[in-house]
Subunit: 320 residues, 2 copies
Amino acid sequence: MHTPAPPLSALRAFEAAARHLSLTRAAEELHVTPGALSHQIRGLEELLGVKLFERKVRAIALTAAGRQLYPGLQTGFGHIRDAVASLDAAHASNILVVSTSPGLTSKWLAPRLYRFSDEFADVDVRISSSFTNANFETDGVDIAVRHMRADPAPDPALEIEKLADIALIAVCSPRLIEKYGAVKNVGDLARFPLIHDESISPRVQAPNWSEWFAAAAVSGVDLRRGLHFNSADHALDAAGEGAGVLLAHDLMAYDDLRTGRLIIPIDLPLRAGRAFHLVWPKGRRPSRAAEGFRRWIKNEIAVMDWSRIKRAAASKNSAR
Amino acid sequence: MHTPAPPLSALRAFEAAARHLSLTRAAEELHVTPGALSHQIRGLEELLGVKLFERKVRAIALTAAGRQLYPGLQTGFGHIRDAVASLDAAHASNILVVSTSPGLTSKWLAPRLYRFSDEFADVDVRISSSFTNANFETDGVDIAVRHMRADPAPDPALEIEKLADIALIAVCSPRLIEKYGAVKNVGDLARFPLIHDESISPRVQAPNWSEWFAAAAVSGVDLRRGLHFNSADHALDAAGEGAGVLLAHDLMAYDDLRTGRLIIPIDLPLRAGRAFHLVWPKGRRPSRAAEGFRRWIKNEIAVMDWSRIKRAAASKNSAR
DNA sequence: CCGACAGTTGAGATTATCTCATGCATACAC
DNA sequence: GTGTATGCATGAGATAATCTCAACTGTCGG
């Protein structure tokens, strides 16, 4: 049989009450009610066999025994708090929370992150995907990749750095060409099923099929038909399955184009007037992980070889 | 809404496991099962978002995060343990446990202890009253006042110091004299009701009424009659209420004699061959409190004024 | 004089902690 | 090579600790 050590929660209750000389303020600190602390301390006094506080009606004062016990507890709990906080801080500097859209995450960022992790093995990247912009103050986000105007208005709270202009390009599965025949001009797409990616334009005015055909001076194409998606990755997957021709962000289509899953039936990129940007809070010096992420993503953009993509995609359009 | 601090019990589980590098040994120290610690530590890892141990099949090793967290916790919990132990030790040196009989406690020691507490304000005296001798090894007793032979055999384990020889004296309430008439000789007590205190003699041969009358060369007194008590204080209280004449320890009757509640109808003290002794364990240097108690009780015995008691008690025997 | 404040207390609700039994994968002894 | 022992993990359920809530008490200040 062993003599029970006093419960740690009771010792913590005593330490906080002794530091504040107030059960009410100690309770606030520990997120409990004053009644809970009163019970804890009373139980501790019974266990130890000494009075730790002298009760006045609206105040408490340490007894000699309480004054004797308190300093060691204060030091002890201080060390424990510091040890946990230090670990939290060290751990936090190794977490990078990136906010971006689900489409970009799925179709471009996720397939590349292994190269970031190779370079920053100690950084734990957390992707926060959502259709809305993250709030840097409340969402615990370090840095964001946002789809914005190519020349966005300055934001007093944000640093904004352009990564890549966005062009809209028509993409489809090679199997669609085999089914509907080669595409020699924009008008030939009139006989193809269309896919609409509505995630591009719901909140901001962005070009879609209508502008694309107009840019090619082609009219009379029935644009009401075809599949509609509200997520770019789902639209791209449908296109890859041969569901139709999709007007897509060139960046997001890049990997499917490189693998040949998608081709460019007509090389008519439409400048969207929009771009992907890196965004982070002004005034907050980016952490080492955030700074590394910034350099890494700019490099990933820089090494994309569009000319090779265009050559391979065009040759597939006419191949039989 | 606040971020919960890790539970202290989980931190303690981790600290002990880290110190032992064994859940089994840490569980033994904390008096729980290894399963409990496993759950605690797993929960802590989830809360903190880091792995603290690397599990091998039959062993655990600290991870980098675990090595980072451990030292601060070890220091912290060390301070807490030391603070509690230091209070326990200080508290123990201010507690004095005195073992004695209930009769002596009630009729002699308790009425005087306030003078000891005045002199040793920081000492908390605990009287351990029982009819049997305390065991110094198991009962947590520091010092004892025992009723023993006047010249006890040495005990290799105990220090024994005589306080006062015991004499047996007849005592009764003055109202008994009023009721049954003055007592001129021992024979006159034959017509008085008798009180027998059986606590004096159940385990050791001690004189009683039979020896007392024989010492006065009086025979033929019916000693079967009268009240019997197995506690000296109850017998003295009955005598004080006028229930009869009691053959009592002079020391225990002292206060009632001094206040006049009791008188000595016939001044015939019978040497009992017994004495009160202070007893404490040999080899154990008495604490400051025990040493103080020893000096105090010897002084209390020394200042008892028997001659004044005898004069007052005798004058009351003949007063009408 | 009355309302606010801080601590206390008991009863009951809630949550944390623990035990127990089973499983897994070695390590060790024969 | 095989069987047993060992240490850690895990889930389910039991137990104990902790907490909330409401009512009370006695000051303090307006």
